[in-house]
């Protein structure tokens, strides 16, 4: 295989990427638009952008609550730019904590009704930092095999023993907990919504078992904040076990509509994390405008019942509509705002992705290794601001594209 890649030179550290370079070359040779270098030339609203000169409905943005263009959010950001400047140029531990950083952490404490909140520069860093710091040498991390890359990288960065179990398999999790040597510390890492298939975890049962074995529990609720649970606190709240969760990890880059990550906790010693968590300490803090938009957005999400209800309506409608048109979906019923359409292979997945783009619809093309079981997926994430009419339009686009590509 490597001889067909022109740059294979002895000692070239890039040789290890040759199979991927080859795969990408072969895919693009079929004439398909590169699914991983789309440029949005103009963003008109949370649900519409101009891509390649064409007005396109956005169905793959994680912008679940459509807060990116909320007038109050935008105004808060502009005001913070004027008052505090473009950036902090500093670590949270040194010169990088402004009033806005404390305000957004207070907004998170209020949103989750928890004692402590710590804001990171991205959601990726929140998982990386918390997991690698709290589970140390001799401790065990028991985690779902389908965990997000940031969780795996947090595991890899720390010194704990890493023990994965089959996705959402309660018995497999318990067996591993039972075998942990006596006296070792245990961190169980779960997600509320798994973003590839859009399925949720049976957190109530899993957390009860984790607690039986004396484990601490971390739940990543990145894909549930704002619309799952009576107060939008996520799947753990929905299942009535949020008080059993030791650490909730979340992000500002989905429902909140900007960028950043966080951990909220009731642990009495939690504040020490600000001194020992390296991905928190050794990076610049978020710009003032970002934390101002986040704080405003989070406070608005506390009172977003109507938007939540409409988002669920959109999810149910699209799920039923795609099933009715003969598509294979990642879940038998709509469990979140993610609806994953399973493609037969990468080639037809890319062809379908392109056909949808020509229809004027953007979805995420997801391929291994990001996906479970080597699947190619077209992942759709709905927004509370998609109108009922847009959802009908989307289903028509799927039907035409699916027939054109021969998937339905």
């Amino acid at each position: 295989m490597s001889d067909s890649v022109e740059t294979s030179v002895k000692g070239d550290l890039f040789s290890k990427f040759d199979p991927l370079i080859e795969m990408r070359k072969n895919l693009l040779a079929t004439g398909v638009t590169d699914p991983f270098s789309l440029v949005m030339e103009k963003v008109i609203s949370p649900t519409v952008a101009v891509c390649n000169g064409r007005e396109t409905i956005l169905l793959g943005t994680y912008n679940y609550m459509g807060m990116t263009f909320d007038p109050a959010v935008i105004a808060a950001g502009k005001q913070a730019l004027d008052d505090f400047g473009a950036g902090t140029t500093g670590s949270r531990c040194l010169n990088g904590t402004y009033a806005g950083h404390k305000a957004v952490e207070q907004a998170l404490c209020d949103f989750y009704a928890m004692d402590h909140a710590m804001v990171f520069s991205t959601g990726y860093q929140a998982n990386l930092g918390i997991i690698s710091t709290i589970a140390g040498k001799g401790d065990y991390i028991i985690l779902d095999i389908d965990s997000h890359a940031s969780i795996w990288d947090g595991c890899k960065m720390g010194d704990a023993e890493i023990v994965p179990f089959k996705h959402n398999d309660i018995d497999a999790m318990e067996k591993r907990l039972r075998r942990v040597p006596a006296g070792a510390g245990i961190l169980v890492v779960l997600e509320g919504v798994y973003s590839m298939m859009g399925d949720i975890a049976p957190l109530k049962d899993m957390i009860a078992i984790a607690k039986k074995y004396g484990a601490m529990v971390l739940v990543d609720e990145a894909h549930s904040m704002g619309f799952i649970g009576p107060n939008g606190r996520g799947v753990a709240e929905e299942q009535g076990v949020l008080d059993q969760v030791d650490f909730v990890i979340g992000t500002f880059s989905k429902s909140v509509g900007t960028v950043g990550g966080f951990c909220v906790s009731n642990h009495p010693k939690f504040e020490i994390m600000r001194l020992v968590c390296r991905p928190y300490v050794f990076t610049a803090s978020l710009p003032p405008s970002v934390v101002a938009t986040a704080a405003t957005s989070i406070r608005k999400l506390m009172h977003a019942q109507d938007k939540r209800a409409h988002l669920w309506e959109n999810s149910r409608t699209l799920h039923a509509g795609l099933i009715a048109r003969g598509f294979t979906l990642g879940t038998a019923s709509p469990q979140s705002a993610i609806i994953s359409v399973i493609m037969p292979d990468l080639e037809r997945g890319a062809a379908m992705w392109e056909a949808l783009l020509h229809e004027g619809l953007y979805v995420n093309l997801a391929r291994p290794p990001a996906t479970p079981a080597g699947m190619t997926l077209l992942r759709c994430s709905l927004c509370a601001l998609h109108t009922a009419e847009q959802v009908q339009t989307i289903m028509g686009m799927f039907e035409r594209a699916g027939k054109k590509v021969g998937i339905i």
């Binding site: 065990y140 095999i145 595991c155 023993e161 890493i162 023990v163 994965p164 179990f165 089959k166 497999a172 067996k175 591993r176 075998r179 942990v180 290794p369 079981a373 080597g374």
Partner: protein, 79 residues
């Protein structure tokens, strides 16, 4: 359980994953000879863990490339 008995049990557990019916020796590698991908590894490790009631963490798995190394590791983990 001694090494020979452990090796026999593991050989039996490999069978369903040994698609090409390769003769397994101590030097047989899981990635190279048996062509295990990451999904196969997960199922195979779970089968070994259940059989011997042990944990083979990913840290430990990283040190195991061949059948012989796996047998040694399982013997050690059984204590």
């Amino acid at each position: 359980m001694d090494r020979a008995a452990t090796a026999d049990k593991i050989t039996a557990l490999i069978a369903p994953f040994n698609k090409k019916n390769i003769a397994v020796t101590d030097a047989t590698s899981f990635a190279g000879d048996l062509e295990f991908d990451s999904l196969t590894v997960m199922d195979f490790v779970a089968a070994i863990e259940d059989e011997f009631d042990i944990i083979i963490s990913m840290n430990a798995q990283a040190e195991i490339e061949t059948f012989g190394q796996l047998v040694d590791a399982v013997v050690k983990l059984q204590g």
